[in-house]
């Protein structure tokens, strides 16, 4: 690398190092500290991690389970949608892609709020059902349960999952597909032996992405999950905004990230085993 390129990379590297690596590393250090009379005390204790597993095991397991459900559902939907864009939509493919990109950057909080107003007891869905005469009383089953969290986060994550999968499907060349067909492969064979292996990196990336972001979310369970659907993110946020127990919040955050990585690794290994050869 020549000096001029190094100088051009320097500001971005500085942002990365000072505003991401340093705070992240420091948070890791703090996870081994303790709090005494509302003050941080440097220490080297594993108590915060032990506490995470004893006090917060239930929300942690629940978070991993719901994260897995959301990531699986979103990846499956995103795969089918990316497949439509690449192979089935013809000249409309570009429009579908633009819709995906537009909803990607627009409205994290607005989307969650929208689902709250749609699913609520006095919400849009219930009022529509009442107006159509399909129900007599508003239904309470739509909101304040894990299902509402799954629907809301799947909606939010879908565009995020479509892009990496579409990116890898774009790499599947038409000529390869034609060759497979000319050699007598049936559509299912072509799909399993040609399309799927080539887009597996995109699918894995989308799954991991969705899993981490879903498991780390706390706004969705707060808005639409109700009092009995708290995810680990809600407890982490609480340690910072209410309890001021930063070391234990930090330990919970790193435990969550570790658990996510483990779940993603296991899912990936299972996918590898299930893959037909």
């Amino acid at each position: 690398m020549r000096p001029r390129q190094a100088a051009m990379l320097a500001p971005a590297a500085a942002v990365f190092a000072v505003l991401f690596v340093a705070p992240f590393a420091f948070l890791f250090v703090v996870s081994f500290w303790r709090v005494k009379t509302f003050k941080l005390r440097p220490d080297f204790t594993f108590d915060n991690y032990a506490d995470t597993f004893t006090k917060y095991l239930e929300p942690l397991v629940f978070t991993m389970a719901i994260g897995f459900a959301i990531a699986t559902l979103t990846t499956a939907l995103a795969f089918a949608f990316a497949y439509v864009i690449r192979f089935k939509a013809g000249r409309h493919g570009n429009a579908l892609l633009v819709v995906t990109l537009v909803t990607l950057f627009g409205g994290y909080l607005v989307k969650i709020y929208a689902w709250k107003t749609i699913l609520g007891t006095e919400g849009i869905l219930n009022s529509a059902l009442l107006a159509l005469g399909l129900v007599r009383e508003p239904l309470t089953i739509f909101i304040y349960n894990p299902g509402a969290v799954v629907v809301t986060l799947t909606h939010f994550l879908l565009p995020l999952a479509v892009l990496p999968i579409y990116g890898s499907l774009r790499g599947v060349r038409d000529i390869t597909l034609e060759a497979a067909r000319d050699l007598g492969a049936r559509p299912a064979r072509v799909f399993l032996d040609v399309v799927l292996p080539q887009c597996l990196p995109g699918v894995t990336a989308a799954f991991a992405f969705c899993f981490l972001i879903a498991a780390g979310d706390y706004v969705t369970p707060r808005y639409v999950g109700g009092p009995y659907t708290s995810m680990i993110g809600n407890f982490i946020e609480g340690q910072f905004s209410l309890k001021f127990d930063w070391p234990s919040g930090a330990a919970m955050a790193f435990t969550m990230l570790g658990a996510c990585l483990a779940c993603v690794a296991v899912s990936r290994a299972l996918l590898g085993l299930a893959r037909p050869r």
Binding site: M1, R4, Q5, M8, L9, P11, A12, A13, V15, F16, L19, F20, A22, P23, F24, F26, L27, V30, L40, L77, A80, Y83, V84, K88, A89, N94, L97, V99, L101, V102, T103, F105, G106, G107, Y108, L109, V110, Y113, K116, T117, I118, I124, N126, H155, L158, P159, L163, Y166, G167, L212, I213, A215, G216, Y218, V219, I236, E237, F240, A250, A253
Partner: protein, 258 residues
Amino acid sequence: MTAVSNALWRAFGALVVALMLTPLALVVLFSFTDNALTNFPIERFSTRWFRTLFERAEFWKAFGNSLTIAGSVAVISSVVGTLAALALARLGERLANAALVTLCFPVMLPALVIGIALLVFFNKTGVPFSLATVILGHLVITQPFVILIVYARMVGFDYAAVDSARDLGASPWVAFWTVTFPMVSTTVIGAALIAMAISLDDFIITFFTIGGGNTLPTYIWGKVRTYLDPSINAIGTILLALTIASTVLALRLSRYRG
């Protein structure tokens, strides 16, 4: 057979598009009604909730903060990110890819983790929380997108014109401003607009790094927590209009497609 299956695939595609757009469309629809609750039947269309909103000083304050932050983030991250992307484009492909994956790492983490890490970091290093800390926090998550978009444009960039300029005696500085920049400027503006959209839309990092005051998303957050007032639909519509307009413009300018 194939005709039927193709029709089914297309119906599925249309259904997903409807699923993606309907919740957003409903927010916009109800922001233009007179309803005191966000539900059917719609009594009358009106701009009542926008007028209520525009009378509130706290809305204008949040709006101003959002624009200050997003504008600064767009300018800073597009300069920093473009410089990095131009440098990476001159590196070997393997090295450049490794650097891209590393620099994009923050985008793969939940924003909550970045938010709390920045909160603890700024607090312990004695940096006072303000709009400036929010801007710094947003650089972490917007810079990767700028780098990716500009780098994508530079792949397959024809350096012949730049080399000719240099051969004819232009300094690197002059060659950059007269040759390279005019060729990539629309992409850079597109990347800046994407950075702006991400910054405008961010709630979580803002929440942990702002200290006091509001941006549009934290203003929505506060309102949803207290009571569901239909003026939230109006703020949502304004926020969507800003982020979607900048994204659409960015896509037109940069021709970036994922």
